[in-house]
């Protein structure tokens, strides 16, 4: 994966998947939850974040990115509850999204 591809992965996926997640208060408004839904499940037109990630992460066999793939799987599994505004699911999905951003940045920086 080129440095440019890695930068795109960090910034086009990591930054935006955590856009709302990083800023959620303990009792988020419906507007904030709708933003989170867009970040996680409609990151690009017709594409959930996990799909955008998969299309960019060409060498997803590397351990850090396998972790991220699994985390996106958990986010996708929470979709119905997040869309419904179930607070526990919203907060869990947000926590995973923040972790994804952190892990992608760590991969970009390298050891």
């Amino acid at each position: 994966m080129s440095r440019r591809d890695l930068s795109i992965l960090v910034h086009d996926v990591g930054k935006y998947v955590a856009r709302t997640a990083r800023n959620l208060p303990p009792q988020p408004t419906r507007e904030m939850i709708d933003m989170l839904v867009r970040d996680l499940y409609e990151l690009r037109p017709g594409q959930r974040a996990s799909r955008v990630f998969a299309s960019l992460a060409e060498f997803a066999g590397a351990p850090p990115l396998e972790d991220v793939r699994a985390m996106f799987g958990e986010i996708d599994g929470l979709e119905a509850q997040v869309r419904a505004g179930a607070l526990a699911a919203v907060m869990r999905a947000a926590a995973i999204a923040r972790d994804i951003e952190t892990r992608l940045r760590a991969v970009a920086v390298g050891p």
Binding site: R4, H11, Y16, A18, T20, N23, R105, A108
Partner: protein
């Protein structure tokens, strides 16, 4: 600081700012020309600028693909197009500075220190934060978290 001009090719930054930086008056622009017009018409106290513009039409980008290809990439227009997209935020900032606006500019990007120092040498008051974190951005813009 109360007026923030967001410059991006989508609407993600502006939406973020309107929801999480509610103490700021947010306006948005999608090109250098839009931004300069907004600054002349409404003014602003700071800029929040996206770096990559991969969704903007080529006609809206600062920089010409063919001349950039000839100047920097040995005639390779595809590499020139990617360069113009990847660096569009800094190219827009250059145009804004050339138009006479010296207001603080903030990027949400983890630039290497030398790259950020170079941007400051070229464009003056430039700050960068790594994430769309409202408290960090507010601090970077000179407000309280």
């Amino acid at each position: 600081m109360s007026r923030l001009l967001v410059i991006e090719d989508g609407d993600e930054y502006a939406e973020f700012a309107r929801v999480f930086l509610t103490d700021l008056e947010v306006t948005a622009a999608h090109s250098a020309a839009d931004a300069i017009e907004a600054l002349r018409t409404h003014g602003a106290d700071a800029l929040l600028i996206d770096l990559r513009f991969d969704r903007a039409p080529p006609s809206a980008l600062v920089g010409d693909v063919e001349s950039t290809a000839a100047r920097l990439f040995g005639g390779d227009c595809e590499r020139a197009r990617r360069y113009l997209q990847d660096e569009q935020g800094t190219l827009i900032l250059a145009d804004v500075r050339a138009a006479g606006f010296a207001l603080p500019a903030l990027f949400v990007h983890d630039f290497p220190p030398r790259r950020l120092a170079n941007l400051r040498r070229l464009y003056g008051d430039v700050t960068a934060v790594p994430s769309l974190d409202a408290a960090t951005i507010r601090r970077a813009l000179g407000g309280s978290p």
